[in-house]
Amino acid sequence: MFTKIKKALVLTLPVMTGYLSVGMAFGLMSVQMGLPAWCPLIMSVLVYAGALQLVSLAWLASQMGLLSIFFLSLIVNARQVLYGLSLYGPFRRMGKLKPYMVFSLTDETYALLSSRPDLAEDKTTAFLLAALNQSYWIGGTLLGLGLGRFLSQTLLGVEFSLVALFASMMLTAFENKANRPLMAYALAVGLISLLLVGPDYFLLLAMGVLVLSVLWKEG
């Protein structure tokens, strides 16, 4: 058992820095927005999705309608569908641990699991790895909540971490030339929607148009 914990710890070390810092930004942002502490905590325990949690803070702050939140969450998380599709085999062997493995399948956990085929044979290590990653995320959230309490005055501009996260994900996606036409189209759709319906509703309109366009083009 000890060697398995050690193996999972070593494998998840790169994720730790990322989850602690982004989780901290999430916790801090939620304090600055005046949310009660249970709210970000429950999210980090039961939602556990970095990009979605960060962007949803802005949705909550603007009291967005529940149906819109539901629809937008599905689209923001669309990439996660891909992960499960390639893990049928390994997850079949997880037995009782499978529900947690499905729940905790974040970008980073997926990247670790799919880059290490040997983990499919070792379900304890695979589970430890998933659970450790989530513990970093919750730890980061707690740190952010603590820091938010500690700061006597409002620290302006923490919400920029959201922009930094999406800009960074976008730059990575932009490196693949095949992604560029649709990204340019999305930019046009986004800006036109923003001009048409304003900052509160444009995301819903733009994502709707984007999904319909892709469905139409893909046939």
Partner: protein
């Protein structure tokens, strides 16, 4: 004013929607390959375009009262791009640009 009732419902919606996207592929295990093929196309094609929309969303109130400040935001994004481009390190790029932005807007000076 955010009420607890709204927050609880909204968090529940987030939990369900998120769980759906993670569990959906496993519900489809053994289903028509054409359907899973289509889904995986969507999962591949949509996310990069999504990131663009989310970035526009993050910048939606740039330069407006209570929104992001233009000068610091442009500087921080430029820095993010530089670190991304020359060092290929997304996480340090994100942390550095956020810290620089927060530092700039809290200095109180105008840029």
């Amino acid at each position: 004013m955010l009420t607890n009732g709204y927050l609880i419902s909204a968090v529940l919606v987030l939990i369900v929607a998120n769980l759906l996207t993670r569990a959906l592929p496993f519900f489809l295990e053994g289903a028509d390959p054409a359907l899973t093929e289509r889904l995986s196309r969507l999962g591949k094609v949509l996310p990069p375009a999504m990131m663009v929309l989310l970035l526009v969303y993050g910048l939606r109130d740039l330069g407006q009262v209570g929104g992001l400040e233009v000068g610091p935001a442009l500087l921080a994004l430029g820095l993010l791009w530089l670190v991304h481009h020359f060092f290929k390190r997304p996480l340090p790029a994100m942390i550095l640009s956020t810290v620089v932005y927060v530092w700039l807007v809290n200095m109180g000076g105008t840029l």
